[in-house]
């Protein structure tokens, strides 16, 4: 059994098989802890690259502006 946190890391790194993606993706959507883990991994990467870290509302402000009711063109 693969640790779901490992799958999240591999998703972020683009290092996973399609079968692992099929396991990781629903787990990511269902589990807030895994989404937090993804954010933490990004934070670590940003810090190591010396990049400014956006505040934690940054994602939500982007998602709030997506024109979801109209859907993609």
């Amino acid at each position: 059994m693969v640790d779901p946190r490992s799958l999240v890391a591999q998703l972020l790194d683009d290092e996973m098989s399609a079968a692992d993606f099929d396991r990781a993706y629903p787990a990511l959507l269902d589990d807030p802890a895994l989404r937090d883990r993804l954010s933490t991994l990004q934070l670590i990467g940003d810090s190591l690259r010396g990049r400014t870290v956006p505040d934690d509302g940054y994602t939500l402000r982007i998602l709030a502006r997506l024109p979801r009711n109209s859907g993609p063109d």
Binding site: E15, F21, D36, R61, L66
Partner: protein
């Protein structure tokens, strides 16, 4: 490496795009989360204003959301998204809005009471950000050498697991394990600091 162990980098994005085009909007959320920081950094390098960069980052993802059905996959999704971001930023620089923003920027610089736009981090947020940065740097410094080297090759140099395995003359699965353990160790050190930021998770 077993060819079934991994797919090419573009494929994870393609799988997310396929799901989005099938009506699963949360797949686009994952793309946003995955790329927002890189896009924000790219735009900020062009416009040199954090608040404007955030606005333009939002616009970039709105454009991508609308245009994704026309994405043909001839380039990587990340390349396509970067092109949208660059064009959005350059378009802004050439617009009248940019003139206004520049003027506002000059005014903000000349008035200590006026900060940048409302999305700029507060002094408290900056302090938390600095503490997180220092915690991460300390935690990475304490990692075993092999784990630290693999993590830095991945995060700083952007090497794939296969490239890291070749560089370190180590089996791919060992590299995967080193990077995973390194991140877990650093993430564990971050946990106490991260608890206060969970209220606005995506």
């Amino acid at each position: 490496m077993n060819p079934e162990d991994s797919v090419s980098p573009a494929d994870v994005d393609r799988l997310l795009i396929e799901r989005f085009l099938q009506g699963d909007e949360r797949a686009f959320e994952v793309l946003v989360v995955k790329y927002q920081r890189r896009i924000a950094a790219l735009i900020e390098r062009v416009v040199r204003n954090g608040a404007v960069a955030e606005e333009l980052t939002q616009e970039t993802f709105i454009k991508a959301y609308r245009a994704l059905p026309q994405f043909r996959g001839e380039s990587r999704f990340s390349t396509w998204l970067h092109t949208i971001a660059r064009n959005t930023a350059l378009g802004h620089l050439g617009s009248a809005q940019a003139q206004s923003d520049r003027a506002a920027g000059f005014e903000a610089q000349s008035d200590d009471d006026t900060g940048a736009a409302g999305t700029s981090p507060s002094p408290e947020e900056e302090m938390v950000s600095r503490q997180l940065f220092e915690t991460i740097q300390r935690a990475v410094a304490e990692l075993p050498g092999s784990q630290r080297e693999a993590l830095l090759l991945r995060e700083v140099e952007g090497l794939s697991y296969a490239e890291i395995a070749e560089r370190l003359k180590t089996p791919l699965n060992t590299v995967r394990t080193w990077i995973f353990r390194a991140r877990e160790a650093v993430a564990d050190k971050l946990q106490p600091s991260m608890k206060s930021t969970r209220s606005r998770r995506w």
